[in-house]
């Protein structure tokens, strides 16, 4: 089944066209990596896919639900790890997870929170306010927050930026595990190496349009990096 179906997504801010007639599909068990330079509209795309902002035109289906008309119904089936924590930093991880878990209407919440905090290695800090955490800890907390309701679709916006090596590896492992459990994952990055490593299908987001999709079997890391470089240069010349 198609987990995510976006077609002809266009977003304008005033006269500026950020996304221009963009198509994207995702099945479960797939990790789609979207490469793009800063300002290419990656964040806007993720925000549209997560229904936080509405596209100017186009259609979006998440898990078979029309996510533009019934955003509230579609939202519980997606999890987002964005630039911002999307949580209350004055509260502790435990309080945050409990609050959001309750709003999602989860059963067996205490156990779920304990498991998640254990997985992201935040048990010792479970009752400290999040604002005291380091960047890596906040990233782990954000992953836990995005996974609390076990969504089918996961969206990662630049999950590796500002992290040290260990933290990057943690995120990679985590994404891989969710994929193995049959989740669909969309990930944006400008890091070709990490993006190649984790992805099963690759796209380039340039000039507000998705260019070309390559499966992992059809392309090697070097070829991918070269192609990205080429496309970037061509885009800059235009």
């Amino acid at each position: 089944m198609m987990l995510l179906q976006a077609s002809q997504i266009t977003k304008r801010f005033g006269n500026r066209i950020v996304l221009n007639g963009l198509d994207l599909n995702l099945r479960s068990g797939e990790v789609v990596t979207i490469f793009g330079p800063n300002g290419a509209g990656k964040t806007t795309l993720i925000q549209i896919l997560s229904t936080l902002i509405k596209p100017t035109s186009g259609t979006l289906q998440i898990g078979g639900i029309d996510a533009l008309a019934e955003a509230l119904r579609a939202r519980p089936s997606l999890g987002l790890v964005g630039h911002e924590p999307l949580a209350y930093l004055d509260l502790s991880p435990y309080e945050n997870l409990k609050f959001f878990g309750r709003l999602y209407g989860l059963d067996g919440l205490e156990q779920r929170i304990a498991d998640l905090l254990d997985e992201v290695q935040l048990i010792p800090y479970a009752h400290e306010p999040v604002k005291l955490f380091s960047r890596g800890m906040i990233q782990r907390f954000m992953i836990a927050k995005a996974l609390i309701h076990d969504p089918m679709l996961l969206l990662f916006d630049e999950p590796f930026s500002g992290l040290d090596l260990a933290a990057k590896q943690f995120v990679l492992k985590r994404i891989d595990r969710e994929r193995a459990r049959g989740k669909g994952i969309v990930l944006t990055t400008h890091d070709t190496e990490l993006g190649y490593h984790i992805g099963s299908r690759f796209h380039f987001l340039l000039d507000g349009q998705i260019e070309r999709g390559a499966e992992k079997e059809d392309i090697g890391l070097e070829a991918l990096a070269r192609e990205y470089e080429d496309r970037l240069n061509r885009c800059q010349q235009r």
């Binding site: 997560s50 936080l52 902002i53 509405k54 955003a71 509230l72 119904r73 579609a74 939202r75 519980p76 997606l78 999890g79 987002l80 964005g82 630039h83 911002e84 924590p85 999307l86 949580a87 209350y88 930093l89 004055d90 509260l91 309080e95 609050f99 959001f100 309750r102 709003l103 999602y104 209407g105 306010p129 927050k145 309701h149």
Partner: protein, 238 residues
């Protein structure tokens, strides 16, 4: 049933955040007392002899103080929601915007009522209102204070009903605090007029007999609660 539980959790979160940092409550109380003192210094040390004049003075001091304290509280509350994308996190749970609105109204209402319960006796004491009350009223002073708090509560509810939606809007701008005052204050003129009249009536006669003002306060609250809980979806979702 689920509705009330969801609203309850949202209120719980808001109150936890508001009382987490105890400085906030302390700050707002000190602010209110200072404002009351400013009025006292401007009018004092000998206050008007006539009960009605004194009552009017007390009414204007109380309502003016609580209005400014209310604006500060609203600003602070929405700053927390905007910071770190917490509001987006909330939206992703698929919770209805009107629940969010109602919970915000209630939590700010509770906070302000607490403030009013603390500051009102102090202000009445500073303005020396209690000693010149008629003997009959002095005898049942607690009852009078209770009625006064009741009137303040109805007015505060109306203020919160409008204040929450307006600060939901103004928090998206840069000059938030000053802008909020400019937009919100003209909208709350009826609350001030009606609230002050009710207060004067309570302090001079001990009751609200033949007084239309209290119904204006109630109608104002109801109209804006109803309309804003419908309109708040546009503020949150855009």
């Amino acid at each position: 049933m689920g509705v009330f539980r969801q609203i309850g959790w949202l209120i719980h979160k808001d109150l936890a955040l508001q009382f987490r940092t105890k400085e906030m409550l302390a700050l707002i109380i000190v602010f209110s007392v200072v404002v009351v003192l400013i009025f006292c210094f401007a009018f004092g040390p000998i206050f008007p002899e006539k009960l009605e004049e004194r009552g009017k003075l007390a009414a204007s001091v109380l309502w003016g103080t609580f209005l400014f304290a209310g604006i500060i509280t609203l600003n602070r509350s929405f700053d927390i929601e905007r910071a770190n994308g917490a509001l987006h996190g909330l939206r992703l749970t698929g919770v209805d915007a009107s629940y969010f609105y109602l919970s915000k109204v209630v939590s700010i209402f509770v906070f302000l009522i607490l403030l009013e319960v603390i500051v009102t006796p102090i202000a009445l004491q500073f303005l020396d209102v209690l000693t010149i009350l008629p003997v009959a009223l002095q005898k049942e002073l607690p009852w009078l204070l209770l009625k006064l708090i009741g009137v303040l509560a109805i007015g505060t509810l109306g203020f919160c009903a409008v204040g929450v939606i307006v600060s939901g809007i103004s928090t998206n701008t840069d000059g938030t605090e000053s802008l909020l005052s400019v937009i919100l204050l003209p909208l709350t003129f009826p609350v001030i007029m009606a609230g002050a009249k009710c207060t004067v009536s309570l302090l001079t006669t001990g009751g609200l007999e033949g007084n239309f003002w209290i119904s204006i306060l109630i109608v104002y609250g109801l109209i804006f609660l109803a309309s804003s809980s419908l309109l708040f979806e546009f503020v949150v979702e855009g």
